[in-house]
Symmetry: C2
Subunit: 237 residues, 2 copies
């Protein structure tokens, strides 16, 4: 029995570029990313529009139904394949008795405590314009925490997922765009002491960001790993 | 170069029982607990009295000095071998540019978000009577989070660390006491949806608590593992 379920977008509705990124180890919907079995569960109606651009109440209700079924089946924890599900964190966590961690943003309060009040947490997101205060609040991020949000949506190759979802990524280009957003963010905001990658497609790039910028980077992978340790699915010793 | 430094108590001032627990893999001051090199750093003057019973300002100043030296040496993150150092979290994190995570209690906000507002996080601590609101606040634990704090100090074998620090533990007895506090806590408070072990000597018992009570357990080990992932010292894939 897989202990952690990952709620993912409806197949056929995932932008082509993200399908390419899914092939990389470390991507949230690539089973090779995990040293433990995960249950990938498709959510009908979940896509860029209903999760990121216009969070849908109907979708939330369907996800709650699914979460309850997964709990009944014996799943031990539930997560999701898109950090924008942050907006559904409270409702989903309240609906079941097993832990629910919808978004990598849940790591921001921890990262903020670690860097102290004079420094800031940088957040790299698929779309800064869609990341609202409501998402941040739902993940325990308070006014005092002042994360520096850095969006990818102005990067032309990356923005295909919103504007031309059937187009393929030039992987070298998109890689360079992701690294550039991190580089520019730390340059513009030298007070950044740690980075949290909101987007579940970014963990494959985390190591390069860490090593190049000499900064701790928390991502979906470090979050699911944290929970996996709490469930004895991964151990250090 | 070891990337994570662990500030530990002055040798000769660690209660005998805790010295025995240190032999167990998973204990915070046992290098065998980690699949990466750690730098164990003794802090002169750090002991049960100056950290747990009467947190000392002089000790904090010495720890700040040490943290600055470790940062200069190239250490990438700093933690400590006692969860009661929570009280020093803000001052230590503000003193250096590298991340500082003093206490396993820093995981409580994350655990609380995961279990939702109708459920609670249980905290098992070496001494509930010494764990103040100030410790909780320093770790980002707000009024709304209402953790259930369960102390070990009334368990006779465990309390030797305070009352008879030169006495040895009967290891079977102390193990049973630790498990009993967890069992009783979950029985008295069925709303507990996850447990956080404050005490850095408890990770060797985490797996049994998880398996017997069927509950996620976060501990010092899951916390240092989380940070180690953010630093690329441990990876899942």
């Amino acid at each position: 029995m897989e202990k952690i379920a990952i709620l993912r977008w409806e197949s056929g509705h995932v932008p082509q570029g993200l399908m390419q990124l899914e092939q990389l180890p470390g991507n949230s919907t690539n089973p090779a990313s995990y040293p433990f079995p995960v249950k990938l569960v498709e959510v009908k109606g979940a896509n860029t529009d209903t999760v990121i651009l216009h969070p849908s109440q109907k979708l939330l209700e369907d996800m709650i139904q699914l979460a309850k079924e997964l709990e009944k089946e014996g799943v031990r924890a539930i997560t999701t394949s898109c950090g924008f599900n942050a907006i559904f964190q409270e409702a989903l966590a309240n609906a079941v008795k097993i832990p629910v961690f919808t978004s990598s943003l849940l790591q921001v309060p921890f990262a903020q405590a670690l860097v102290g009040r004079d420094r800031a947490v940088g957040v790299i997101t698929a779309s800064a314009s869609s990341l609202s205060e409501k998402h941040l609040r739902a993940c325990g991020i308070t006014d005092e925490m002042h994360p520096i949000v850095m969006g990818l949506e102005n990067a032309p190759e990356w923005s295909k997922i919103f504007d031309h979802p059937d187009d393929s990524f030039d992987m070298d280009l998109v890689t360079e765009e992701i690294l550039n957003v991190a580089r520019q963010g730390v340059k513009d905001h030298p007070e950044i002491g740690a980075i949290v990658l909101e987007c579940t497609d970014l963990p494959p790039f985390a190591r390069r960001i860490r090593e190049e910028l000499d900064i701790p980077v928390f991502d979906f992978n470090s979050m699911i790993g944290h929970v996996a340790m709490a469930l004895s699915l991964v151990k250090l010793y």
